[in-house]
C-alpha cells in the first residue's frame, strides 16, 4: 500500500484550459452564423481552412519543440486563434491568405515566443497585421451584405472563388467588393462630406452602424456577456474598451457631429466588440491585475479612436491590441493590488 502524498489542496474545481477555450469558441458561434447570413459561406470556409492550418502548425511546432501533442492540441487555444483570425479576413480572400496568416500567427506569434502562456502578443492579431501590411489588396476586398445571395453565389461557387479565384458568370472579385462602413466613412469624410450626407445615401450604413455588421456586433456582444456571466473573462477589459471608446467618440461627436460619427457607429462598426470581448481579453497577452485590466482596456479604446479618426487605417483594433500588449507587463507591475494587511496607499 503506497499512499499518494500530493501537496494540498486535494480537490480541484475541475476547470481546464480547454473548457475555457471551448466556452469562448461557443460564444463566437451565434455571431459566426449571423455573419454567414449576411456575407455568405466565405467565413465558414475560411474558418475550416484556418482551423486545419492552426492544428497543423501547432502540431509541427510541438514536434519541433519536443512537447507532448495531446494536451496542447486539445487545449483549444490554436483553434480559437484560428477562428478569431478568420473573422478578421475578408470572406472571399484567397485560401493562401488564411493559411499564411494563421501559420504566421501560430508559428511566429505563438510558438517562437514559447507557446501557450508565453506569447506577449495576441497571435491572431500578429497574423492579421502581417497580412494587412503584406497583402493590403486582398485584405481590403470586403463585400456589401447579401451581395452573394443576390448573385446566387452558393457554397460551391464560394469554394471556387476562394481556391481558384474563379467566379461564375464571368464576374470579377473587384466588381463584387466594396469598402467596409468604417472604410467608406473614412474615405468620404476625407472628401469633405458630412457624416449625415455619407450615411444618408449609402446602403452600407444600417440602422446604427453598418448593415450586417451591427448585427454581427450585437451577437458578439451577447456572446461576450455570456463569457462574463460564466466568468471566463473578466468584465474590466470589455467595459474599459467600450467605455473609453464611447466617451472619447461621444466627446468629438457632440463637438462636431458632421465630422465625427456617433459613438454607436464606433462601437458597432468594425471590430470593436470582437476586440473588446474576444481579442483584448486573451489572458496571455493582456494585463492581469484588476486595475491593470481597466487601464489596458482604456488604452485600447483610445488608440482605436485615434487611429480611426486621424490615422491612415480605417480600423485599428489589431494595432491597438498589439500596442497595449506591449504595455501590459509594465501596467501589471504598477497596478499590483493592495495585499491584505498592508497599509492603504503604500505597496
Amino acid at each position: 500500500m503506497t499512499l499518494q502524498t500530493p501537496p494540498s489542496p486535494h480537490i480541484h474545481s475541475g476547470i481546464h484550459v480547454s473548457s475555457l477555450m471551448l466556452r469562448v469558441i461557443a460564444a463566437l458561434i451565434p455571431a459566426i452564423i449571423c455573419y454567414t447570413w449576411f456575407f455568405g459561406w466565405g467565413l465558414i470556409i475560411n474558418s475550416a481552412i484556418a482551423m486545419l492550418t492552426a492544428l497543423a502548425s501547432e502540431a509541427l511546432m510541438l514536434k519541433l519543440r519536443k512537447r507532448p501533442l495531446k494536451p496542447f492540441l486539445g487545449d483549444g487555444s490554436a483553434v480559437l486563434s484560428a477562428l478569431l483570425l478568420a473573422l478578421c479576413i475578408p470572406p472571399l480572400a484567397p485560401w493562401w491568405i488564411t493559411v499564411l496568416g494563421v501559420a504566421f500567427a501560430l508559428i511566429v506569434g505563438k510558438h517562437l515566443y514559447g507557446g501557450l502562456g508565453y506569447n506577449p502578443f495576441n497571435p491572431a492579431m500578429v497574423g492579421y497585421v502581417m497580412l494587412l501590411i503584406s497583402f493590403p489588396l486582398e485584405m481590403t476586398r470586403w463585400m456589401p451584405p447579401f451581395i452573394l445571395e443576390q448573385l446566387e453565389i452558393g457554397f460551391i461557387d464560394t469554394l471556387g472563388v476562394i481556391f481558384f479565384n474563379h467566379l461564375p458568370y464571368g464576374l470579377s472579385i473587384d466588381a463584387l467588393s466594396s469598402a467596409t462602413p468604417l472604410d467608406a466613412m473614412k474615405t468620404d469624410l476625407g472628401q469633405n462630406n458630412t457624416v449625415s450626407e455619407i450615411t444618408a445615401n449609402n446602403a452600407l450604413f444600417g440602422d446604427f452602424a453598418g448593415t450586417g455588421w451591427e448585427w454581427v456586433g450585437t451577437w458578439l456582444l451577447l456572446g461576450g456577456m455570456y463569457l462574463i456571466y460564466k466568468r471566463v473573462i473578466s468584465w474590466q477589459i470589455p467595459l474599459a474598451v467600450i467605455g473609453s471608446l464611447f466617451v472619447i467618440s461621444a466627446f468629438f461627436f457632440l463637438m462636431d457631429p458632421d465630422t465625427y460619427p456617433s459613438p454607436l457607429f464606433h462601437i458597432f462598426g468594425g471590430a470593436t466588440i470582437l476586440a473588446a470581448f474576444f481579442i483584448a481579453t486573451d489572458p496571455v497577452s493582456a494585463s492581469t491585475t484588476p486595475k491593470g485590466r481597466i487601464l489596458y482596456g482604456i488604452g485600447i479604446g483610445i488608440i482605436i479612436y485615434v487611429i480611426r479618426a486621424w490615422g491612415s487605417y480605417p480600423d485599428a483594433v489589431a494595432f491597438a491590441v498589439l500596442l497595449m500588449n506591449m504595455a501590459a507587463p509594465t501596467i501589471d507591475y504598477y497596478t499590483q493590488p493592495r495585499v491584505y494587511g498592508h497599509a492603504r496607499g503604500k505597496d
Binding site: M1, T5, G14, I15, P68, Q336, P337
Partner: protein, 546 residues
C-alpha cells in the same frame, strides 16, 4: 445586529458535511496502543518525565514543558510506557519524531484530581493561564499554538475575543458537532478565556451552513445570560481562516507580519474553549478531542478520540478498508496534509481524517497530473483572499527568483489553496509557494550561519590585531622605561657606570705616548715631515682626487 464585512475572493465549495453529522458523537474504541508525539504544538518538544516500563494513569503528566512556548503532555489512558522512541508522526514529509508509546490496560483509571475551581472568576488571569498551560492545551483549530501563551496579552489591551466556529473546509464537522452537543461548555470556556484576557467583547463566528449549531449556541447564551454575540457568517471558503474571520466580523485587517493582538483582537477555536472548560472546571488535561472521519468509510462520523490513537484504528472503526487506501488526508481537502502511512496518531491539532480508497468512490476530484502552462487568466488572483497575484508569484517561484517573489508578498500567502482550486492549467500553485518559502527560510538560515561565521572571523581578526597592538604597546613601554629610566636607583647606577667610563678614559689619556719625550732632533725631523706633507697637499692639482 453586527454589521458584517466581506473578505476579497474566496471560493464556494461543495460542503460534504451531511454524512458525518447524521450520527451523534461517541467515544472512539480504546486503542491497544497510544503513540504520543512530544511535539504536537508550535515550539520546542516537551521533555519526558516517565521512563520505559512506568505505569501511568489517565491524565497523568508524562512530559513537561521545558520553556515558555511549549505544552506539557499527558497520558490519554492508563497503561504502561513501553517505549520512548522515534515514531512516524503526522507530517507532510512522513518523518519520525520522538514519541511516548503507551500500551493501554483497558482500565481507563484516572489520576487523582489535582484542583477544584469553584468559581473561575475568583482566579487571577495568571492562575487561570497556569491551569490552561498545565493541561497541555494548544490551539485545536490545527495550528497548535500553546493556548496559555495566546491567552497572555502581555499587558496589551484586548478589545474583542473572537471564537472561531466557522469550520469552512469541506467534510470537517467536529466543531459543528461539538457546538451542537456542548454549546454551554464551549460558552463557559469562552468566558474563562475572556477572564484571562480581560477582553471587552466576545464574538462567536459560525458559518451559516450550521443552523443547528448556531441555535444551540444562541440557546446557551440566552440560558447563561452571557454578554456574548453569536454571529452567522456567509459560507465562503476560507471564512474560517483567522485573518478572514477577523475581517468579516470587524472589518479590520491583521497587519502583515503582525498578530491579531496588534489590532486588539484575539482569536481562538471553539474546540480550544471546550478544552479550557474541561481543564478548569473538571481538572481534565487535553487528552481527547472531536475528530471527523470521512471519505471512503462505511460510516462517516465524528468520534471523541484519545490523543495518540493511530489513524488506522479509526478507519477500521468507521468501516474503512486499510488495505485499499489511496490517499489519507489529515485536515480538510483544501489545507490538509496527505499522510505517508496510517500508523501515524491523532494529535491535538487533528480535526479530520479524510480517507480515499481505491475501492470506494469518493468525490475528491484532484487536479491533473499534467500541468498546462499558466495562461495568466487571473482566476487565481480573483480567488485569493489575501489579494495577492498568484500568477506572478508562480512565475517567480518557477524562476527561483526569491527576491522578486517577496516583492509580490509571498509571506502574506495563507496557503488556503483557493488559487490552486480554480487554476484552469491545474498547476499545483500552493506547492510552489511552499517550496519558495522553505527555500527562502533555508537561504536565510544559511545566511545567518554565514553571518555568524563572518562575525566570528571578523572578531578573530580584531582580536589578533588587538593582541598585536597590545604587544607592541608593551614593548614600547619597556623600551621607554629603559631609556628614560624607570627608578632613581637605575639612574644612579647608570650615572656611576658612566663616571667610571670617563675616569678610565682620562686615565688612559694620562698614560705616556711615544711622542712625549723626544729629543730636539727627533722633534725637528717630525716637524719637517709634517711640513713636507702639508706642502705636497697644497701643490697637488685640485682636480686630482685626494
Amino acid at each position: 445586529m453586527r454589521r458584517l464585512f466581506q473578505f476579497k475572493g474566496g471560493v464556494v465549495l461543495k460542503e460534504h458535511k451531511k454524512d458525518a453529522t447524521a450520527l451523534p458523537v461517541q467515544p472512539a474504541r480504546l486503542p491497544p496502543r497510544l503513540i504520543l508525539p512530544l511535539k504536537q504544538h508550535i515550539g520546542n518538544p516537551a521533555e519526558p518525565v516517565v521512563a520505559e516500563g512506568d505505569k501511568v494513569l489517565k491524565g497523568q503528566l508524562i512530559a513537561r514543558a521545558g520553556d515558555a512556548i511549549c505544552a506539557p503532555l499527558h497520558a490519554s489512558s492508563s497503561g504502561t510506557v513501553i517505549a520512548i522512541t522515534d515514531q512516524p508522526v503526522p507530517h507532510a514529509s512522513g518523518m519520525s519524531a520522538p514519541c511516548i508509546v503507551i500500551d493501554t490496560d483497558g482500565e481507563e483509571r484516572w489520576r487523582p484530581r489535582e484542583h477544584h475551581v469553584d468559581n473561575f472568576a475568583e482566579l487571577s488571569a495568571q492562575e487561570l493561564r497556569g491551569i490552561i498551560h498545565d493541561a497541555g492545551i494548544v490551539g485545536l483549530g490545527g495550528a497548535g499554538f500553546p493556548a496559555a501563551v495566546k491567552l497572555d496579552p502581555g499587558g496589551r489591551p484586548v478589545d474583542t475575543l473572537i471564537l472561531n466556529g466557522a469550520e469552512c473546509e469541506p467534510y470537517i464537522t467536529c466543531d459543528e458537532m461539538l457546538l451542537r452537543e456542548h454549546a454551554l461548555e464551549v460558552l463557559n470556556g469562552l468566558l474563562m478565556m475572556r477572564h484571562a484576557l480581560h477582553a471587552k467583547r466576545c464574538v462567536i463566528g459560525i458559518e451559516n451552513n450550521k443552523p443547528k449549531a448556531f441555535r444551540a449556541l444562541c440557546e446557551a447564551v440566552r440560558h447563561s445570560d452571557a454578554d456574548v454575540e453569536v454571529v452567522e457568517v456567509p459560507t465562503i471558503y476560507p471564512a474560517g481562516s483567522e485573518k478572514q474571520l477577523i475581517q468579516v466580523l470587524t472589518g479590520k485587517e491583521v497587519p502583515s507580519g503582525g498578530l491579531p493582538l496588534d489590532i486588539g483582537i484575539v482569536c481562538h477555536n471553539v474546540g480550544t474553549a471546550y478544552a479550557v472548560y474541561r481543564a478548569v472546571e473538571l481538572d481534565q488535561p487535553l487528552i481527547s478531542r472531536y475528530v471527523t472521519i470521512a471519505g471512503s468509510v462505511a460510516h462517516a462520523r465524528n468520534l471523541e478520540v484519545l490523543i495518540g490513537t493511530p489513524l488506522g484504528d479509526l478507519i477500521e472503526e468507521c468501516g474503512g478498508n486499510r488495505d485499499t487506501l489511496h490517499r489519507l488526508i489529515v485536515g480538510g481537502p483544501m489545507m490538509g496534509t496527505a499522510m505517508h502511512s496510517d500508523v501515524v496518531p491523532v494529535v491535538k491539532g487533528t480535526n479530520c481524517v479524510l480517507v480515499e480508497s481505491t475501492s470506494h468512490d469518493v468525490p475528491l476530484p484532484s487536479r491533473d497530473a499534467y500541468a498546462m502552462p499558466c495562461i495568466r487568466c487571473g482566476n487565481c488572483a480573483d480567488a485569493c483572499p489575501a489579494n495577492l497575484l498568484p500568477q506572478q508569484m508562480y512565475w517567480y517561484a518557477r524562476a527561483r527568483d526569491f527576491d522578486k517573489i517577496q516583492d509580490y508578498n509571498l509571506f502574506d500567502c495563507i496557503e488556503c489553496g483557493c488559487c490552486d482550486y480554480v487554476c484552469p492549467s491545474q498547476i499545483p500553485l500552493v506547492g510552489y509557494y511552499r517550496y519558495a518559502k522553505s527555500e527562502i527560510w533555508n537561504q536565510e538560515a544559511e545566511k545567518r550561519q554565514a553571518d555568524l561565521a563572518r562575525e566570528r572571523h571578523q572578531f578573530r581578526d580584531f582580536r589578533l590585531e588587538r593582541e598585536k597592538k597590545e604587544r607592541a604597546e608593551r614593548h614600547k613601554k619597556k623600551r621607554s622605561a629603559v631609556t628614560q629610566g624607570g627608578s632613581d636607583d637605575k639612574k644612579a647606577a647608570i650615572q656611576a657606570a658612566m663616571e667610571r667610563v670617563r675616569a678610565k678614559k682620562s686615565e688612559q689619556d694620562s698614560t705616556p705616548k711615544n711622542t712625549d719625550n723626544l729629543t730636539p732632533a727627533q722633534q725637528k725631523a717630525i716637524n719637517d715631515a709634517d711640513q713636507r706633507r702639508e706642502e705636497k697637499t697644497a701643490t697637488s692639482p685640485p682636480d686630482r682626487p685626494q
